[in-house]
Symmetry: C2
Subunit: 200 residues, 2 copies
DNA sequence: GTCCGCATGTAAGGCGTTACATGATTAA
DNA sequence: TTAATCATGTAACGCCTTACATGCGGAC
């Protein structure tokens, strides 16, 4: 079940990146290829069609620009409409389904929140996130204890791995809340790449 | 004709399940729909074509059987060739690429190991797994410390979440090794279930 | 003057998703 | 008899993957 905004994980990743500063398709590929961001493919066959889709949707707009060389290339920047869509998407409540099926989307949403919705919204997200996980962990523990005796060790261990992963996420979220509330002004800040012209 | 390493996650899940006991497509759907196994879709549009693919590959064989009702249906059981392919697949070394891009496959492989490769192989897998993760965590930590000052707080926190997830996996693996070595005979036995969940 | 990095794409194929379709059996 | 469950599929679509193709610019 897709969300009504129809943002796939890849589209969200690209839109989030472009929301921070204008980028070319090649820039996006570099981010995916050289940073531990999302484990996305940096293949042109994924990036360029995705960029085109979100451009056709009116969420980004391409304009001429040049990079390190003097060569022309397409610089994409987010449109007001795109920002609205992004904001909308990042503000959606965290559901149990998200936790079960789209954990990576949730983390991506979080990663881009700072610059788009404020500190309060981000904290609320983390609280929702943690409590949804708590609920699901209870379900999993219940299931595990009901079948652990008839379950082979590897299966049980694999399931414990999953549960511990969720618990780790909940703990992380609570630490993150404390940290953000410790210095609330930190929660926004769009890129932090500037402070004296850097990239672009 | 597939290449033997070409087991998609879904094919692996199905082949692993069928290796434990003969199942119909409907049975497979039920497992996906009612247990916290793999966050897979139980949609017929996924299961039946996948079953057909692995049948065409000669890894499973369908025969007539009946379930609770008296109605005929296709019962699939694993073939010697399929078992060989599964064994082969589960015995592959753990690479860093697996850790980065196919963590869920790795966990699925682990979940089915008990009944297919022995305790020693399983322990070796876990050792590889833990040390590959250690290596990657070092890379991630290096990356994080090199950019954390120019990174927005949410991005940094999201990245810490990823790192902690890997660390949790390494710890889990080491605990699992101890447990399996504590009672080695436990390492085999058949059944299902793996990490991450599905609907309650 | 050639090789490498920049920069952007297309084509074919695989496979999962959603939605629809079909028919048998059993419980109410 | 009607509805629910069992059981198996197909069709259209979306999107990622791999692989290929192209052309500019700078460095040596």
């Amino acid at each position: 079940m897709k969300q009504e905004t129809g943002l796939s994980t890849l589209s969200l990743a690209i839109l989030g990146l472009v929301s921070q500063r204008p980028l070319t398709g090649y820039d996006v590929r570099k981010v995916f290829a050289t940073t531990p961001m999302g484990h996305f493919s940096s293949s042109p066959g994924a990036i360029y069609p995705a960029l085109k889709r979100i451009e056709d949707a009116g969420w980004v707009r391409g304009r001429a620009g040049q990079g390190k060389t003097h060569r022309q290339r397409m610089l994409y920047e987010i449109t007001p409409h795109g920002l609205e869509v992004l904001k909308q998407h990042l503000s959606q409540p965290v559901t149990r389904d998200d936790v079960i099926w789209h954990l990576d989307d949730l983390m991506m949403r979080f990663a881009f929140m700072g610059g788009v919705i404020g500190c309060e919204g981000t904290v609320r997200f983390l609280q929702d996130f943690a409590s949804q996980i708590d609920g699901y962990v209870m379900v999993l523990r219940g299931y595990l204890s009901s079948v652990k005796d008839i379950m082979p060790p590897c299966g049980r261990l694999a399931m414990e791995n999953g549960i511990q992963g969720y618990e780790m996420n909940a703990q992380w979220a609570r630490r993150a809340i404390k940290e953000l509330q410790g210095n609330p002004q930190q929660a926004d800040g769009t890129t932090h790449v500037s402070r004296r012209g850097r990239k672009e």
